[in-house]
Each structure stands twice: as C-alpha cells, then as structure tokens.
Symmetry: C2
Subunit: 343 residues, 2 copies
C-alpha cells in the first residue's frame, strides 16, 4: 500500500521524527522523509537513531520533490487522510502527477489505536507529571489565587502545566468558575475567583510528545485539593456532582475489552439519565489519547469501535446547566488484561 502523511504526529509515528514542514512518503518498497534545509541536521540524526530505513530528502520545494518521487516509482494510486492535508499541497502534487488519491479518514490514527508497552509507559509518565501539576496548582490557588480573574488563573495554569517551560501543553487549559464552567470549551473571562466557588480545571501536558488529559471540578475552600471528594453547599450542584462521579467510576469499572465503545458511553449516559440530568450531558464520554490529544477510539453513542487491550482513552462525563454551573470529571485509562486501569 502506497501512502503519504504530512501531519506531524502521523509522520513521527512512521519514522521517529517530524517537524512543521515535512512529508512522509511510503512508496513501493521505499520510504522517504522530505523536508527543507532548516532541518537537515535534526532530521539526519533522528532518522538514523530510529533506523527504520527511511531515506532523508532535503528540498526547498517539498511538493515538487514528492511528485518526482511518485513519478519515478510509477505508482498509480496513493492513500491519504484528507483531514491532514491542505487543499493547496494536494493541488500542487496533483498538477505534476496522474495519481489516484484515495481518501482514508484517520489513516494514521487507526494504526495508532492500540498502544504498545513503550507508549503506555510514556503515557503513564505523562499522566503522572500532569497529576503532580494539579497538586501544585491547588497550592498556588490557595496561596494567591483567590481574587484572581479567570484570565490570570489561566496564565498561572499554563505556567504550572508547562512545569515552567519544561513541557509542552497538550492543549490550552480550561479554568472556569461557576456558570462559566457550563460551557464545555470555556474561554477565560474577567470573572474573579471567590472562596466557595465551583472551579473546573481541565489540563494536560506532553512528555516525549505523548499527551495527558485530566479534569477536576472542585469547591474552592481552605485546604481543598483536586481530588474527587468534593462537598458543595448547593444541593443541586452536589446531586449533579455525585451523578458525574458515579458515571465516571461506573464506566471505568464496567469497561471490558471486547465491548463496543458505545457500550461504555451508554453506562455513563444511563447513570446521568437516572439522576435526572440526561439532557445536560451534551458531549461524548471520551476520546483516545496518544500523540494527538484527541485520537481513536472515540467513546460515544455512535462509536462502533471494539475496545481492545492497549487502547488508551479518557472517561469524562459532564453535566452543564446553562447560566448555573458545569461539572466534568476526567481520567485517562488503559485497557490491560481485559479491564480499564486508571493511568
């Protein structure tokens, strides 16, 4: 099968190296990594270390060079993921070849859906580092977070989550107070944190390119931590919180290899339905995590993916009541010996 990638993580998975201007081409019995001269040194060294036999090609014009390689190999069709490519680059390559482009959505992510032991070890480490930051962030909030705006807390969270520059972030953290937490992808506002507020914190970092992802929703008071034992004054919030936690725990304990992803989603959804909050659980239960922060398997109502040992994904039920509050609890799990283990 001839195929071509340009997404940084897809390329990295193939040959152990990538950068922001590269193409990986698997074509006949050869594989090529094409990039520009800014990256010659890095690419040479990394490809050698990885020893996959990928040939390094340096060219200012990536598209033209790829066209030539394709023409030389005399291949007639090539598989690609249309979500990875901008229209322009395909246009450029297409102009110079008579190739049949065959669209395969999630071409790379499908290969990456089951993680090997090395990847699981990296993901465990990443999750552990991320969890440590949750602890240090709760201390920072207790020390000097009260009275700060969401924007300022967002900045504190960014600094903390990057471990002051040591790690890249998986995504921009979400720091949302009270009603702002009702937006699943809240942007930070000028609202200020008060004692007793509900605080939703969703954040992750990268370690050796692998992502972590975690969410906690807490009541900010003396001595609070980002654990799951939270007590709210409002009965409605407490009821919603308990429902989310129950859904989260149940989905993890019921998840078994061999199930469909939709069945794990159903466990979450039923638990929240029963508590009377069904219509406020407005997203899917989870997503795979690896090199990409969102990858396969999708854990949703419609996901037909069969869960297997080695898959790593989030379980993150939530309840979002507009203009009132939002709650989400999220952990990453790995399937091992048929069961879901929290990372």
């Amino acid at each position: 099968m001839n195929y071509i990638h340009t997404d940084e993580n897809a390329v990295y998975y193939e040959c152990g190296y990538s950068n922001d201007n590269c193409i990986y081409l698997s074509c006949g019995s050869e594989s090529y990594f094409i990039t520009d001269s800014r990256y010659t040194l890095d690419a040479k060294q990394s490809l050698k270390e990885h020893s996959s036999g990928t040939k390094l090609i340096i060219d200012f014009n990536l598209s033209k060079r790829v066209s030539k390689l394709i023409a030389k190999a005399k291949i007639k069709k090539i598989f690609f993921d249309p979500k990875e490519w901008d229209y322009y680059r395909i246009m450029q390559i297409q102009e110079q070849t008579r190739l049949r482009w065959i669209a395969k959505i999630s071409l790379s992510q499908k290969k990456r859906i089951v993680k090997n032991e090395e990847e699981i070890a990296l993901l465990s480490k990443t999750v552990r580092l991320g969890a440590q930051v949750f602890d240090s962030f709760s201390n920072s909030i207790k020390q000097n977070g009260i009275g700060k705006s969401e924007k300022e807390l967002f900045f504190m969270a960014q600094s903390a989550m990057s471990r002051h520059g040591k790690n890249a972030l998986s995504f921009d953290p979400i720091v949302a107070i009270n009603a702002n937490a009702a937006k699943p992808h809240a942007h930070p506002t000028d609202d200020r944190l008060k004692h007793g507020d509900l605080l939703l914190f969703d954040a992750g970092l990268k370690y050796k390119r692998y992502c972590s992802d975690r969410t906690r929703t807490v009541r900010v008071k003396d001595g609070f931590t980002f654990d799951n034992k939270q007590k709210y004054k409002s009965k409605k919030i407490q009821k919603a919180y308990d429902a989310v936690l129950k859904a989260h725990d149940k989905a993890i304990s019921k998840a078994k290899s061999g199930m469909r992803a939709s069945q794990i989603d159903a466990v979450c959804r039923e638990t929240i339905d029963k508590a009377g909050f069904g219509k406020y659980f407005i997203h899917s239960t989870g997503h795979g995590v690896g090199l990409d922060i969102h990858e396969l398997p999708v854990i949703s109502t419609r996901s037909k993916i069969k869960i297997k040992d080695g898959m790593v994904y989030t379980v993150e039920p939530g309840i979002y009541i507009p203009d009132e509050f939002g709650i989400r609890i999220e952990d990453m799990v790995v399937m091992r010996d048929g069961k879901a283990e929290v990372l």
Copy 2:
C-alpha cells in the same frame, strides 16, 4: 464575485468576528457567517456591532449548511484560497454541490495588503507594546537569566511577551545562544546562557488581533539592552553584525513606494554580499505583517509586488554561519508618504 473563507483572520477581515469553527460565504448579494452553537452569543453580538449585514447561521454541520446555501443561491462557481482549506472540508461541500471551485492563492491577503489608518494605528500600538517587553526582558535576563537554559529563557520570554497572560503571542519566541542562533528557526535547547554570549531574540505579540515582530541580536554583559549598538569580542562576529545592521538600515532608508519588493531585497543582499557574507544570508529580507504574522508583501528576490503607501512589512536581514553564530536584526516598517517609517 462569490467567495468563501474559513481562515480565522480572513473571516475576521470580512465581518469583524471569527472563531475556530466558522465559514464566511459571500454569495450573490448576501453574506453569511456559519458557526456552531458554542459561539451563538459571541457571534450575534460581534456581527451586530460590526454591522456589515452578514447573516448569522448556527448549525452543527457547517459543510452541509454551506452546501444548502450554495444550492439555494444557484451559483455555479466560487473563489477560494486553497491554502485556507483542508482537503476534507472541500470534499464534504463538493459532494453535495456541483460547484466549480476556482483557486485564488492569497485571496484574503491580497485584499489586506494595504493597511488603512485604523489598522496602522493598531499595528503601531502592538509594535510599541512588543518593544516594551524587549526592555523588560533584558532586565529579567540581567537579574536572573545568566545560567538559565535556552528552554528556561524561552519560557521567561513567553511569559514576558504575553505580558503575563494579557496578550496572545504572534508566534513562539526564538531565544538562541551562540551557535544555536545559526538556525533561523532554532528550537530552545538545554544550553545555558553565560556572560559574554551572543543572544538572538525574535518575538512578537498580538494586540486586538494585529501582530508585532522584532528581532535583536546582542552580546550579554552588564548593562546590555536590546538596542542596535552591540560590541562583540570576536572580530568575525562584529564584522557580520555590522553588515547585518548596515543592510537593515540601508534597506529601510532606500525603500520607496513604487519600487518592486525585490529591489528592497536586493539592497539588503548587496550590502551583505559586499561584506563577504552573501552565502550566509539564507532567507528573504522580510514579510508583510497584519492579522497574520506572515502575510503580503513578501520582500524577496523573486517578489514582483509593487510597494505602496500603507503596506506594513518586516526588514530582517541575517547572517547564519553553521556551528559558529547567527545574527538577525528585524524591525517592522510602514510605507507613508512614499517612504519606509520604522514602527
């Protein structure tokens, strides 16, 4: 002319609002802004304030809705910039319409190439804020930057350039010491800053979505600042530095409205050639700056663009000697009354 945009800055330029999941469609006598329900409130308010008459349409499936609008308007062809679109979205829209897609590269950037007074005022303000950060960053380095790694300095630079969370960044800052500065797009390493080192700092921030961009190369010693009067111990470095500074100053003083962009590039290149460093000036002289950090006009050997009043671009000659050092000096200029004025 019917046209369609999805790039955040292209859309913003049309209707004064955009987000990370939107399409702008100008179709017959109507224009539409299509986004999903997460953005209903924001979009409604911003489009109203901008009063361009753009109609807001909320739909979960943007591609499908756009197809319907196109079908209803019975248009036969549409202009688009293939660099803005991922292949997948065009595939989705195309499946449902019989439209002729006409590729126009830089469709939006061509409209934006001459800035109006309001935009120039925003760009001036952005550049001024960015320059202030250069001053504060030199103080931070003097206070506690010596001994820090490039990675740590990068983090300090990010924090400083975002003015501790107040502003978005135009791009990830470049902080490179000695030989690392020989890579024009250096990634931070574990190398630590010592007294007397050469330090290249390239950074910018955004103010009301408009970008700044500036580079200084300095010798780190007591009382140093990010100004252009730098003294190096090495004669070779000093010679290269003087050549870059001369090229920078000359390109700015010689730039006139009515010239071709390639002529400005030639001024830089000749100056560096004459000093004997021609083969080490491995990139073009500059690029336009506005909503995008890289936009038109390109100031390069091959750029046929005619320079006009109201254009804003960088002048950033550089000399990069592998394994030894790199030097770049960059400022943004605006063309006003026929001449280049440093912002």
